[in-house]
Symmetry: C3
Subunit: 220 residues, 3 copies
């Protein structure tokens, strides 16, 4: 997968998730190393899981230094903004900071859904479960690692339509590219838009997936 | 490992663990996606770890759609039962639900101990540590992932004779198959029975592994 | 990497981390199996992550039984000491137990920084990010797995100069061995000393990495 637009999605997703990881670490009062680890885990964690599952060893994140510079750059920009600007005032100007965090996160989700699914289609076009799972794992894997390292239940398991957006985008992309032979570029852009749109609409409308009524049981 | 009875153990364990994962997710009020993830993690998580460690890439769980259908089927059956039946009344009829959960879990433990150990013996018959570890990891790995994702200390580290049952079953199976050349079928069935029996007897008798008296120390 | 002094560092680190894992498990009132798992996770967990990332399958920890005996030996020695000696009195004699725990941990950190970085240089000398990451992951990976399994936020993300010591040692070693072609033995011993020294000085002086001022944001 050397296509230039594949790499654009890859770098876009990495940047968006690196920024969201920095926010998550700062909000938990971690030190500089902790910020780096959480940012890196969010930005490249999903891709490393993806590469291990398809046997792409060593994972791409370790071969190209661009990922490191994106993470360090995101750290520098965000920490300088947080440290040297009066955030309260700044927030009033720019609007709610959390909105930007959520938008970044949605962009990362959409980008990595595309890159994971396409890489799966490229390596193993016959295994549809693998390819769709790769899309979802690449998109949500980094966030799960971030949450486990930060000591909380992964938000993806508790929160609104998140992995579901990635799942729908991935199913759409696999279906478009493999059986219907839509050009990769078109499928990728539509899948990215679908995933981001579902995610943002879900946030806006406070959509939730239905839950099952609780049944009590003890685990001895 | 294409033997039909190997696959029987594999599917039996997958089903038992998929059901136990659904129970665990429902009891934590997760949404449908969370139920799916916990069920899938429990059912195929151990097998994915096993396949990564022996280089069986991509893992078997992604190649064959039967695992997906088992997980979705378990979700459908259990959520329908929980949702549409009056559980309190139903429990009085069938008996304690938790008993069924524990029996399912024990069957999964026994089945995956057998499949993990045998796959290890097939790929790397000379590495006894690897083969026995594969049996235990396949059996308890899914539960550990489930517990980490659900935000609790893995029960296997705290609770009664659980991994120990798997360990004894795996040692027995490796010993029977490699040095004594017992037929695989016989070794597998005996190992499965031993593991399940030890586990259920331990639950019944409230057996625990001895603990060491506490020593205080600080980690700076 | 069959050099005798590489193996000395490997066994030294394994022993030091196995002991520190036993201490961590005992202090959490785990049973014998839990002690074994935590000790094994700490001692060989980092190395298994390292081997998966470089495609060294099955991981070295499963091929050679020496690691198992080190873990079992550490368990036996420490549990006998804790169980049969009056720890309070013993501590007064030997000094603070926690000091020994920290020294063990620092020695493991230094040793595994060396082994991880050197293995990376051996397999993939051109990927500097991979090689330095391997040094740090081998050194801190086991501790992260131990902490996640024990249900706490990995100390490495919260605590003093820990991974930073490993990072500096690994950068030094890569720089010395690859561009400057220092003999491996010399680079390894200096890198080990640098890592352990930074870690111990940091503990002694209560050094911390600077933190960023908190910014509040909600994750919806």
């Amino acid at each position: 997968m050397d296509a230039i637009w594949w790499q654009i999605f890859d770098l876009l997703g990495t940047t968006a998730f690196a920024v969201s990881g920095v926010f998550a670490a700062i909000s938990r009062r971690m030190d500089l190393f902790g910020i780096f680890v959480l940012s890196a885990a969010t930005a490249v964690g999903g891709g490393i899981i993806r590469d291990i599952l398809i046997g792409n060893i060593p994972p791409a994140a370790f071969k190209n230094s661009i990922y490191l510079w994106i993470i360090l750059g995101s750290m520098a920009v965000i920490t300088i903004i947080v440290r040297y600007f009066n955030i309260r005032m700044w927030r009033r100007v720019v609007g709610k900071l959390s909105i930007w965090y959520l938008v970044c996160d949605a962009i990362g989700l959409g980008s990595f859904t595309v890159t994971g699914t396409l890489l799966g289609c490229f390596y193993y076009p016959d295994y549809w479960i693998l390819d769709i799972t790769l899309g979802v794992l690449t998109a949500v894997g980094g966030g799960v690692i971030r949450d486990v390292l930060a000591g909380r239940i992964p938000g993806v398991l508790r929160k609104e339509v998140y992995a579901t957006a990635s799942l729908l985008g991935s199913i759409f992309l696999y279906g478009a590219v493999i059986p219907f032979e839509v050009p990769l570029e078109v499928g990728a852009i539509v899948s990215f838009s679908v995933t981001v749109a579902i995610r943002l609409v879900a946030i806006r409308l406070h959509l939730n997936i239905p839950r099952i009524r609780r049944v009590r049981h003890r685990r001895a």
